[in-house]
């Protein structure tokens, strides 16, 4: 499915968060949104998934091409995992399937399938509090995959994890994207994640959030490796793009209150 972001602007009260954002997300493409804190990248992701109404402009699904058995075309993976603590791993995945006309066996089949994909099969009956952060985010991924989304919307999915877990999950995401050809929008402030996962990096500038540059990385995802000279060059280029913005963001007082 192709998503087109058309002239999206958004203001919170007096503060203009986004202005005239316009770009497309092609099927099978991973788009990373980067930018300093306060540039409106999470706001934009909320708008793309229909969780926030933009002040003006719209996000349009240009066709109805969805994967087979798709139950929720635009599906989020959250930074804080958003798992129900009173449900087991399997129960958390079941939650998003229960309201659809699936038979019990179809549901169980889907749960087993996504648990296997995320290496969680042994943890089906564990509660979230028993899991490490990395495991929790794997459950978040499994839950998102269970509805067979057309576009995966990932809001800083690695930010709440420690450095080692981040490396592990980054590899798993990269495998997932390479294997499934999933369309995704990936918000991050970590440039390394962006150059490892994205075909297209949208760099935002702040106050108001506008597109500074759309940067394309044409190395196939499954050929990207940590420390590859091309990737380092891309990362450096992206850093040069947003460096001044990041410095300004760092120095800014919280005057929005």
């Amino acid at each position: 499915m192709r998503l087109q972001i058309q002239n999206v602007s958004h203001s919170y009260d007096q503060v203009e968060a986004l202005r005239d954002i316009e770009f497309g997300i092609e099927p099978g493409e991973v788009v990373a949104l980067i930018g300093p804190s306060g540039c409106g990248k999470s706001t934009l992701l909320s708008i793309i998934g229909g969780m926030l109404k933009p002040t003006s402009g719209a996000v349009v699904m240009c066709d109805q091409a969805k994967p087979e058995g798709c139950l929720n075309p635009l599906t989020y993976v959250f930074q804080d995992f958003a798992l129900l603590p009173w449900r087991t791993v399997a129960g958390n995945i079941s939650l998003v399937l229960e309201d659809h006309p699936l038979s019990k066996s179809e549901r169980d089949e889907r749960i087993a399938e996504v648990l296997a994909q995320t290496n969680l099969s042994d943890f089906a009956n564990a509660y979230p509090k028993q899991l490490s952060g990395g495991m929790k985010q794997r459950v978040g991924i499994a839950r998102a995959l269970a509805v067979r989304p057309a576009v995966l919307l990932m809001d800083e999915p690695l930010s709440a994890l420690d450095a080692q877990t981040r490396i592990l999950l980054l590899d798993e995401f990269s495998d997932l994207f390479a294997r499934t050809g999933m369309t995704a929008v990936y918000v991050t402030h970590n440039l390394n994640e962006a150059v490892r996962l994205a075909h297209k990096v949208v760099a935002l500038r702040r106050r108001p959030g506008t597109i500074k540059e759309i940067h394309t990385i044409d190395v196939p995802i499954n050929e990207r490796r940590e420390g590859m000279p091309e990737l380092i060059a891309h990362e450096q280029a992206l850093w040069n793009l947003i460096r001044d913005e990041a410095i300004a963001a760092d120095k800014e007082l919280e005057n929005v209150a």
């Binding site: 998934g49 969780m51 929720n72 958003a82 998003v96 229960e98 309201d99």
Partner: protein, 275 residues
């Protein structure tokens, strides 16, 4: 400094050296079931001692043995079951009515803008009224019989339940609700599968408050006009200076309160096992 040198230093401490004192003591009470039961036995033994030696007048405060005898008398005569049965019916009936109404209103106030401000305003105005003050009014409305007692208890239970329920609904993490919405869960599913379980810990702790309020109002209502009931039993015993029976009634109330809190504890463990 070489490794050997460091070792040497460690083995020959200065004469001024002293070990680091452990400072993080206290502020960590632990439970001790033996002490809990022991304190009971001690208080009862001292009481009995006072009564036996005549230090405590039998008329003012009967001895534990006299109370036990009175309680036994109530049990074998069957009067206790009559009183207890009447009380429990009122307690359970009134509490359930007040709780169900309180949960419904609490959820509405917690979730809908249209219910929010009117609900909070009315609850804030009516909550501080001691509900016993309304008992005469309820007697005028519903008569001296059972309905006025149910109404008093239900009314007293209703307000704390509303306050706890909407507090619990408010405390459900917004990100969980947004997650449910982002997966297009129907509203009823969001309420049943996310908001209700999320608010449950607060609602259950509210049950402890509302159940003790219910017991207070039960006794008050029974003292104003009832033939049977623990409150009526205590009042009648007092009028006849039968302090042994009076204390026996109070003991039954204490046991009733303990049973209620034990049941709520079980409910907690059953419903909140995931914590």
């Amino acid at each position: 400094m070489s490794h050997e040198g460091a070792k040497q230093m460690a083995q020959t401490p200065d004469t001024n050296s002293e070990p680091v004192r452990f400072r993080a003591t206290g502020f960590n009470p632990k439970s001790n079931p033996v002490a809990a039961w022991g304190s009971f036995i001690l208080v009862i033994a001292l009481w009995q001692l006072g009564s036996s030696t005549g230090f405590i007048s039998e008329l003012a405060m009967p001895s534990p043995i006299a109370v036990a005898k009175a309680l036994w008398q109530l049990i074998i005569s069957g009067d206790l079951w009559l009183h207890l049965g009447a009380s429990l019916q009122r307690l359970v009936g009134g509490w359930i009515m007040g709780t169900v109404a309180g949960l419904v209103v609490g959820f509405l106030v917690g979730m809908f803008t249209w219910a929010r401000s009117p609900g909070v305003a009315l609850v804030s105005a009516l909550f501080p009224i001691p509900k016993i003050a309304l008992l005469p009014l309820f007697i005028i409305w519903f008569g001296i019989g059972e309905p006025s007692k149910f109404a008093t208890i239900a009314f007293g239970v209703f307000f704390p339940t509303v306050i706890n329920t909407f507090g619990g609904v408010d405390n459900v993490q917004r990100n969980l609700i947004r997650m449910g919405q982002s997966f297009d869960l129907p509203m009823w599913s969001v309420i049943r599968k996310i908001i209700l379980p999320g608010a449950l810990p607060t609602i259950l702790s509210g049950f402890r408050i509302s159940s003790s309020i219910a017991i207070i109002l039960l006794i008050a209502a029974e003292m104003i006009g009832a033939q049977y009931g623990i409150g009526a039993l205590i009042l009648a015993a007092g009028n006849l200076y039968q302090t042994d029976q009076l204390i026996a009634g109070v003991v039954v109330l204490s046991l009733m309160g303990l049973c209620v809190s034990w049941l709520l504890g079980r409910l907690d463990r059953w419903l909140l096992g995931w914590r």
